[in-house]
Amino acid sequence: MKARHKRMALILGGLAALGLIAAFVLNALNDNLAFFYSPSDVQAGKAPQNKVFRIGGLVQNGSLSRQADGVTVSFVVTDTAHHIDVHYKGILPDLFQEGKGVVAQGKLGADGIFTASEVLAKHDENYMPPEAAKALEQAHQAGSGNPDAKTVTPASPSPATGK
């Protein structure tokens, strides 16, 4: 085999290998790079059974309660269609708030309660001064007459619609 042919074969082989890797990576991404499952996914049985996984959604308004010890909390994660009770013992991130996005990692018990070992806050992509946020919320409440309005702007998608 001539040197030129050898080099060509090497380049083609490398290219094929890279393409194959890319195909595998894309495939893997497609299958299980969903960072979390929504309560509806869990309801539909899409979440892994008896394994640690993450659920994501919004913290339902009025659902957060703290135990007497101050570090054990329970709250409800909702995607508006379905919801899951979550128990967690630990420190909550700064942005953890009722009505805002959350991702919790843990196991789903037989009783339907999700025991979280880690809770992350998922914030939206809106940035504005506090006065503007307040004005928007007031306008939103006046417009819809719904004091439980959970999104600050109508344009902000709920984290549960990611799929």
Binding site: L15, S38, D124, E125, Y127
Partner: protein, 248 residues
């Protein structure tokens, strides 16, 4: 613009002095834009309703992330030009861009970690956005390592070009990851298809900083490509004349 002019422009001997004249222009623009961007970012833009002062990391994080993706596209473009037309300058441009792109990918990941810890509660998570940006950094490092490992510059350029072109698939994956998959990372605040989800003065600060990074990248990549031109064209008469003039 005819093809002949274009190829003349891409001759290293023509491009070298042109780049030399452009570098100070880009540095000056960088200085103006960076000062303006930092001024707006720290002294004009108000605090954020959710993240307080912590959101100010956005003024570098977003620009650096954009630069890391855009620089990769430009690098892949030059790599493709090199494969298609066998022009000498193309490989040099790709090699000059890679370290700067890697640097911005690093800044994006670094500032992202420092932002994620206080806001999300984690320095790092393996969600699709963060993972694909990390892959981008590895692609840059892979390109640099591969092209340095091969002594013959023509072959090094070719091998690097193939890697760069294959890696292009990763750029749309990064960009759309927050739409295609459930991620911890939020969606885009600024995109071509909808109104920006930011107060306009915050947006201005971010855009000024991003433009400053553009100017920085142009200046630095041109500085590096001039060194690469000297190294690769050292046997040509014009480089010998240039260096003889300098040393007198």
């Amino acid at each position: 613009m005819s093809m002949i002019n274009w190829f003349k422009f891409s001759a290293p001997s023509t491009f070298y002095p042109l780049a030399g004249r452009l570098i100070p222009v880009f540095w000056a623009l960088f200085a103006i834009l960076a000062l303006a961007g930092l001024w707006v970012g720290f002294f004009v833009a108000p605090t954020d309703f959710q993240q307080g002062e912590g959101y100010r990391i956005i003024f570098i994080h977003v620009g650096a992330s954009w630069m890391s993706m855009f620089t990769y596209l430009v690098m892949a473009f030059w790599a493709g030009m090199g494969l298609a037309f066998n022009t000498r300058l193309s490989g040099m441009m790709a090699s000059a861009l890679a370290p700067t792109g890697a640097l911005f990918a690093f800044i994006s990941l670094w500032t992202g970690a420092l932002w994620g810890k206080p806001m999300w509660g984690a320095w790092w998570v393996w969600d699709a956005r963060l993972t694909s940006e990390l892959i981008l950094l590895f692609l840059y490092i892979g390109f640099i390592a591969l092209t340095h490992a091969i002594d013959d510059t023509r072959r090094a350029d070719k091998a690097g070009a193939i890697l760069a072109l294959v890696g292009v698939v990763n750029v749309p994956i990064i960009y759309f990851s927050v739409k295609w998959w459930n991620t911890l990372h939020q969606g885009a605040s600024v995109s071509l298809t909808k109104a920006p989800a930011m107060a306009s003065i915050m947006l201005w600060g971010m855009l000024l900083c991003a433009l400053a990074m553009w100017m920085y990248s142009l200046a630095v990549a041109l500085m590096r490509v001039r060194v690469i031109i000297l190294e690769r064209e050292r046997h040509t008469d014009w480089v010998k004349e240039l260096l003889a003039k300098r040393s007198q």
